[in-house]
Amino acid sequence: MINVTAAKIKVDPRDAKLSMAHFFVAFTALALGGLMGLLQTLVRSGKFELPFGIGYYQVLTVHGVLMGLVLTTFFIMGFQYAAVSRTAGTHSNAARRTGWIGFWLMTIGTLMSATMVLLNEATVLYTFYAPLQAHWIFYLGLTFVVIGSWIDGAAQIMTYAKWRKNNPGQPSPLLSFMAVINTVMWIVATLGVAATVLFQLLPWSLGLVETVDVLVSRTLFWYFGHPLVYFWLLPAYMCWYAIIPKIIGGKIFSDSLARLSFILFLLFSIPVGFHHQLTEPGIDPVWKFIQVILTFMVVIPSLMTAFSLFATFERYGRSKGATGLFGWLKVLPWNDARFIVPFIGMVSFIPAGAGGIINASNQMDQVVHNTIWVTGHFHLTAATSVVLTFFGISYWLVPHLTGRKLTKAMNKLGIIQAWVWFIGMAFMSGAMHFQGLLGGPRRSSFSTYGNSQQALEWIPYQIAQAVGGTILFLGIILVLIIFINLAFFAPKGEEEFPVGEAENLSEKAPMVFENWKLWLGITAALILFAYTVPFIDIIQNAPPGSKGFKTW
């Protein structure tokens, strides 16, 4: 019995190795992608030009692909693989082999796509919108990344299924349940991007077909693109719901509420892609309206999460004798990097979420669409809330997996890192938001647009972004120092993998939450409802297809 418990407290070293393999790729992407981000903000300040004829848009593509697709997907798969191993038991040899196959496919695909981007054969930005046309190897590499991630995710599902089989009638461990929800959402969402790449972009870039239907490809992209952002966010929520309570010494406010909110994300993250296409002609406004309503449904689980987290903190604070309306804030462990780093991420999600509601509202989208406001928005959501939480996770998970300790010095450096990040992002993302409201465009290199008055007004904000970008780059250097230290140099020891317990243990999560036929059925029904009619309409009334363009 003791052995069983011990085995579950520590991630098996064989599983740890696969998780760490993911993290090495993720942090390499962070290093290169971060440098590109710095270069972009410097170019946009108007004070700096790229050497050797390197193009701004190539740098932008490297930054977007490495940060948005590689860093996130590899970190998430590595983290979820470890979380399932820790809570549902060590992966079987078959599951682990599956995981390794997925990892290598993703890595090979990443190298293929990255090579084409670096050869300047695929400067199509991370959204790779048609009719911008990349080299076919870029698209084939992306296909490998997606298929690899399915196989990688299958390893988690196999171990979850094994746990369910061995524990009939029991709700699965919360972190495993959450990991599987996110994996399933990812698989359903990536069907869209797989469809556009396999049936449209690959044949078109190979020259098998001359033209591409741009609106169909963009619609399939955004069918994937919105759940993609929730695929980034849900692992952060896993940490906030199920790990942070243990770190602060409190309890999960409600296990069932956490599960319900994850199910709502599965249902409402996908049939909402049109809110990224509100300004696009060719989509019936009625269906845009319906998808905007579905988008606003996501506000419900987001606010459930906010409530649940505040409640966890307040309950813990009051158990420590805190009084008054906000006295509980004072007793939180402000000197623990494992808490404060994700906590800054949580706080950043307040303006990030508010901005998201603005973006998704049809009228307000007319104010901010394609402006750098949107870039500012996802640098708060993905590049602050999500990645600060990922950094916070890695500060205990990396030493846990490598058999080392998070030392006091590294804990302190982690806290400094998070504040450096917060300050840098306040400058950069804040300036992006304001410049966007003044009409400054996103996805564009420095230009004074013929010295137009409006464009000249943007320049101070662009300089503020360069200041913020420079501070953020210092933050990235600090993260890399900590990561390398924890992976190779920190003293040997035992670092805890914290897993929270629910406050009310007698409250068993309803088994209906594990009824995958039901949830996948509703997910499919919502997707078919939201997409079938407008998609038929898009295809039937399609304009002539477009040939490929290379603007770089």
Binding site: A306, E314, R315, R318, S319, I357, M364
Partner: protein, 49 residues
């Protein structure tokens, strides 16, 4: 006599440990922030279009 009794009463009022009034206030502040942001940009829209 009445005054000391009142004081004693106040002292024995212990705050309920299960109180979530801070949480309630926090989510209200959060909601208010969302509404203020939304309305501000809405006015920008009305002003411009």
């Amino acid at each position: 006599m009445a005054k000391p009794e009142l004081k004693t009463n106040q002292k024995t009022q212990v705050e309920d440990r299960s109180s979530l009034k801070g949480t309630l206030a926090s989510v209200f502040l959060l909601g208010l922030f969302i509404i203020v942001s939304w309305v501000s940009v809405y006015y920008l829209f009305v002003d411009r279009f």
